[in-house]
Each structure stands twice: as structure tokens, then as C-alpha cells.
């Protein structure tokens, strides 16, 4: 943990404890608190008042965001502002979301118009966001920014948050394409790291709730946490929860270096996998109360199950990692241990190996 991450983490914990619920008025309050505290500008370059590429602190903030089951698009705007700042664009105080161009088959024509073939979803809980589409152009990674297009349908996430559906579009758009400086980590890696960190934070909170419930709920004359079958479920949860936090710390530390893509793929693949099993165990320990609207557990469960689909689900990252290992030609063990091993870098053809669409909403 860096010096910043402890201080900023405390601030984030306080600010994000504002209950946003699933409601739009609740979210507006949380959004205001987060932006007033400047959390949305966390990763802008230091001359602009941010921490620059301090991904470890960003991961701590994302983890607190997850622990409080927040619904505001804070992580999205942190990613967008990081890109805006590096691209020399003004940073945003309004909501903005990042969409990987490859996931919607986005193309730039010779006349500099943009089109995409797949629909995607954007969070609408604090209003329609600006959309940053990341593109791999022959000249290098670039971003295109769309001003809050009107969604053609409304939907909700698994967590009940309002999302807008943006359909496929081949219209001519007035468009500014801005190149990103070379050598930056990919936007997808940063966004995936923060989503995974949010899940890890929510899993930590779920573990706390579950231990506390098991120690207080009495059946057959004793707390259910004294039953071996219950202890074993919770022990299993705890091991993987701790492992998730370790994976996040490692990925946040490595992002920006040659090992970043490997470490991020590892974290999102592992955490995406346990995002299914751990909440299920927690619900089993809680019994019927955990399934109730009034009890907090489902807020965490549903957000985890929503976030695991975003910025690449576990299958996407498992395949990415499998391809890194199998297509690289080197020895797996050397890859695992060589911090700056070139094999750990993402191949040039960034998202071309995409087997499954990334769901952005």
C-alpha cells in the first residue's frame, strides 16, 4: 500500500458510505459527495490535481466502492478522466463511461466517421454519460468521445440500476479522434482492474457480514458458526476472499509495467470465477434472511454479479490468459516468475483474439 492509498482509502471509505441504494435520488447524493471529494479525478496527471498513474490507490478506492455496494459510475469516470488527461482533453466532472471499441466492432472510415455493429449498455443512474470509445488505429491507440447519445431503450442491470441501451450505429458522426501517448497500459486493463477490485471489496464485506451472522444466529441452542459444516463454508470463503485481495494488489502494482496485462487478466479471471461461488456460500449461511430485500447482503451479491459481466467476464479473461500462455512459445514457469518477461505483455493484435463480446453494461 502506498502512502497515498491509505489516506485516500479512508476518504473514499467515508465518502462512499453514503447509501446510494438503487434509486436515482440516492445516487445523486452519492455522486455529489464523490465528485466534491475529487474521487473522479483520482488518476488525472499531477499538474491537473490528480495522483497520475497511482493504480494502487485507485484499486483501494475501487475496493471501498465495492464494499459499500455503490451504484454511481465513479470507476468509469476515473478511467475516462485518466484517458482524457493523458490525451490532453479536459477532464470531466459529469459521468463518462469507457467502451472497448473491439467489443462493439467499432470502425473508423476514411472520412473519419465512426460506426459500430453491436449494441452496448451505459449506466444512467446519474444521467446519460459521455462515452469514450477506445480504438486500436494503425497509428496506435486512440479515443473517440461521444456526447451523451440518447439511448434507444432503457433496461436495468442485475443490481437493478438503470442502464441505457445504445444500438448499433453506422451514421456519420462529427468526431474527434485523439491519440493516446504510447506506452500507457490499456484502458481495458485499467477498467478491468477497477471492476475486479470492486468485486474484491464487496467480497470482503460479504465475509464480514457472514462471520457476524454465523456468530449471532442461534439454532439448536448454539450459534450456527459452531457447526463444522458452516465453519467449512465460511473458511472456504475467507481463503478465496484473501486471495482476491492479494491478486488485486499484485495487478495494481504491476499495471503500467510489462507484466500488467498478465496480472490484470489473472485478477479478473480469478475474481470473476469466485464471484459466482462466494456469494452463493454467503447466502447459504444466511438462509432466508439473506434473500430478503430489507437485508443488505443482496445489494452486494447483485452488484458483484453485475460487475463480473463488465470489462470482460471470467471466460474472456481465462481465454486471454490461456492464449498468453499457449501462444507465447516460452515456458510457463518462466512466465509466472519473470516479472518483466516480454511474454507477459499483451500481443500487438490487442483484442483480435476476442472470442466473446465484452459486455459493457
Amino acid at each position: 500500500m502506498t502512502e497515498h492509498s491509505a489516506i485516500v482509502g479512508e476518504t473514499a471509505d467515508r465518502v462512499l458510505s453514503v447509501e446510494s441504494g438503487d434509486s436515482i435520488p440516492g445516487a445523486a447524493g452519492a455522486w455529489q459527495a464523490a465528485t466534491e471529494a475529487g474521487l473522479h479525478r483520482l488518476l488525472v496527471r499531477e499538474p491537473e490535481g490528480g495522483l497520475g498513474d497511482d493504480f494502487e490507490t485507485a484499486a483501494v478506492v475501487a475496493s471501498r466502492y465495492g464494499a459499500h455496494a455503490q451504484s454511481i459510475p465513479l470507476l468509469d469516470v476515473i478511467v475516462c478522466n485518466w484517458a482524457f488527461s493523458h490525451a490532453g482533453l479536459p477532464v470531466a466532472d459529469a459521468p463518462a463511461v469507457f467502451v472497448p471499441g473491439a467489443s462493439i466492432e467499432a470502425r473508423v472510415a476514411e472520412d473519419h466517421t465512426l460506426s459500430w455493429k453491436r449494441h452496448f449498455h451505459v449506466p444512467m443512474i446519474v444521467g446519460a454519460p459521455r462515452i469514450l470509445i477506445a480504438l486500436e488505429l494503425p497509428g496506435g491507440p486512440s479515443i473517440a468521445v461521444l456526447d451523451s447519445p440518447l439511448p434507444n431503450a432503457l433496461t436495468t442491470s442485475l443490481a437493478g440500476e438503470p442502464y441505457g441501451r445504445i444500438g448499433a450505429c453506422s451514421a456519420v458522426l462529427p468526431l474527434e479522434l485523439v491519440p493516446l501517448p504510447s506506452g500507457l497500459p490499456s484502458l481495458l486493463d485499467l477498467a478491468a482492474l477497477l471492476k475486479a477490485a470492486a468485486i474484491a471489496g464487496a467480497l470482503e464485506r460479504i465475509l464480514e457480514l457472514t462471520v457476524s451472522y454465523a456468530n449471532s444466529r442461534v439454532q439448536f441452542g448454539r450459534p450456527i458458526g459452531q457447526f463444522q459444516a458452516v465453519q467449512h463454508m465460511i473458511s472456504r470463503m475467507s481463503g478465496e476472499t484473501v486471495a482476491a485481495s492479494v491478486a488485486i494488489r499484485e495487478a495494481a502494482r504491476m499495471l503500467g509495467g510489462g507484466r500488467g496485462p498478465f496480472a490484470v487478466a489473472t485478477a479478473k479471471a480469478f475474481i470473476g470465477e469466485i464471484a459466482g461461488t462466494l456469494p452463493t456460500l454467503a447466502h447459504q449461511v444466511h438462509g432466508a434472511i439473506g434473500y430478503c430485500e430489507e437485508f443488505v447482503l443482496h445489494r452486494l451479491t447483485r452488484r458483484i454479479w453485475s460487475w463480473r459481466e463488465q470489462m470482460g467476464d471470467e471466460v474472456y479473461w481465462q481465454e486471454t490468459l490461456g492464449s498468453l500462455v499457449l501462444d507465447n512459445g516460452g515456458d510457463l514457469w518462466h512466465m509466472l516468475t519473470d516479472a518483466e518477461h516480454p511474454a507477459a505483455g499483451r500481443p500487438d493484435s490487442d483484442y483480435t483474439g476476442l472470442q466473446r463480446p465484452l459486455n459493457s453494461g
Binding site: V211, A214, N215, G225, Q226, Q228, V230, Q231, H232, I234, S235, R236, S238, G239, E240, V242, A243, A244, V246, A247, R249, E250, F262, A263, A265, T266, A267, A269, F270, E273, E314, V315, W317, Q318, E319, T320, L321, G322, S323, L324, V325, L326, D327, G329, D331, L332, W333, L336, T337, Q355
Partner: protein, 368 residues
Amino acid sequence: MRELRLSARKFLADEIGSGGFRPRCSGWQVFDPAFSLRCAERGYVGMTIPKELGGHGRRFLERYVVVEEMLAAGAPVGAHWIADRQSGPQIARHGSAELRGAILPGITAGRIHFAIGMSEPNAGSDLAGIRSQASAAEGGWTLNGRKIWTTNGHRATHMIGLFRTQPRDEQRRHLGMTQFVVDLSSPGVSRRPIADMTGNADFSEITFDDVFVPEAYVLGRPGDGWNLVMGELAYERSGPERLLSVMPLLRAAIPGLRDGSSDAARREIGRLVARIATLRQLSFTVAAKLDAGQTPTTEAAMAKDLGNRLESELPAVLRRVDPRRPDLHGDEYQRLLAEALLQAPSITLRGGTPEILRGVIARGLGLR
């Protein structure tokens, strides 16, 4: 650290190249005294024992890096394994000056090999149920009883054994035990190898019949054995061997999966690699805490539980995604797969079963 890792890697590559050993899964159970001598010549044994006591005085994390390389290469480190991992450090911490002088230089030289004397016929997971006894004798102690499931006990030169030095008190079963260093060539020691389902005989049964142990060979204070054993187990449970036993198999599998492998194979390899990379970090975190002088009992149990689960699962996953079948006399991948499948049932029962570990974790979480 990097240099240390690369020099160990080169030593191992040269060993394989010259036929020094054939890679095996769970190489930490494979007893090869000649290989241990060659490791000792390079300074890879007794690394964490202080220099003034005859060791190399290196950091715990430096040993960790070397050990990782050994396991990933499938090297037969079993002869020096127990002495290097726990017996040597335990003697350095709790042994008398005479005992340290008699044993530690021999461990570092790769000549003295240790076994762990904990389990008994009626005391496995419930270690406090041991019945083997030590009674005071002139100038020392006399041991009587039986130890079983002792890995390489019939091949080792010495053992750290846990014996009762006071009668059992059913209310306070953890009291009245003491750890002794026993020379296994002493009169009254008889040893019997126990054949296992893989066709090897790595377990053994050791009987003590009026075996004399000098006073200087007691560890710590008489009666304090339980606390000493718990400290020893933290070293036993936290190491990379709880995760990397199957690494030689996975490494051997990759080249054959490169061409034309299915999406399912990519996915499963990716899933396994994500788990291994994550658990390796977890294990390293535990090692760093030990290095800093802490006793991360709960985290060590977590690391072993998760690591063992992965080790047990990995050969089964490879069977699903790779059409090559296990064959003890096939190519290297087929042989390693066959060995790993046969070893799998033993992985989760050494050094604390998952059921025991989850009880330890539950206590650490504040349940009970």
C-alpha cells in the same frame, strides 16, 4: 533475489541435461541423498540457519525462491527437505548448544536427513492424542512408543519426535509433551517402510523400544512440546510445495496444447494459471510475514487449503482438455500425468487435512 533464482534455475537445467534427475511431481517426497549433496555444495541446504550455527544465514524469502525453482523443476529434494524446511530452523531456535553443534553443520552439508515424528496409530489429525512416552533416565530420557505415516522415516538419519513426558490429562491434553531429536540409528529403533498405492514406499512406521536420548537433545523446555509443534507447523503449511507439486506436469502439458487446442483448453489453462498465479502471491505473502518474524497461522492454513485443492484438481482438468492419456511408461507428459493422478489422494492428507485446516481458519476468523 533474481540472480539467486536464475542461478538455481541454471543448476537445475544442467542437472536435468546431465541426467542428474528425472523431473517428478511432488519432488519433495523423492529421496535422493546424492542430489542433496550436490544441492548442499551449491549452498542450497540450510539456507536459513544462522551462519554462526553452521548454516548460510540467508533470508527466509531467499530460501523460498530457491525452493520454488526446485519444485517447479520436479527435482528430488526429499532427502534434505524436512531438515532444511523445519527441523534445522527448529533446532536453531530451540536446541541446546551441544545439539546445534552436532546437527546443524551436517544438515547444511546435506548429510543429515530428518523425518517428522508427529502422527501415531491413534493420533493423526488429533495430534494431542499421542501416547508415545519419554521417561527420565540418567543423563537423558528413555523413549517408548510408535510413530507412523512418517514420510521417509526409514531413510532419514534423524527425527524430531513429539513424546509425552507427563501422564495424559484428559482435561488439558495439550500439556506435558516434549520434542526430542532422535538419532534413528540408536539401539531400540526399528523401522518398517509402508508400501502405498503408487507402488512406492515413502511412508514408514517407527517403533521405539527403550531408546535413549541424551538431555542435550531435548528441544525447548520439557512439557512445552505442543507450542513448539505449532510453531513448526506454520513452516510446514505455508511453503510453495503446497501449490507447486504439480507444476512439472503443467509445464510439460503446455507444448502439446499449443497447436490446434480448443477454446475449452485455452479457457481451462487460463483458469488454472490465474489460480496458480494468485495462490503463489498468497503463499509469498505468508512467506514474507514469516520472514518478518510473524506467525500467520490462519493465512498459512488458507494457502495450504487452496493450494492443495488446486493440486488435486489440476491432473483431472488436464485429462479433460488434452486427449493424451496417462501412461506410466509413456512420454514425459503421460508419465507425469499418471504419477500425479496416483499421488492426488495423498496431497490433501499431508500436513493437515482440509477439514483440520478449515477448523484452524474458522478459529482465526473468530467463529466458535
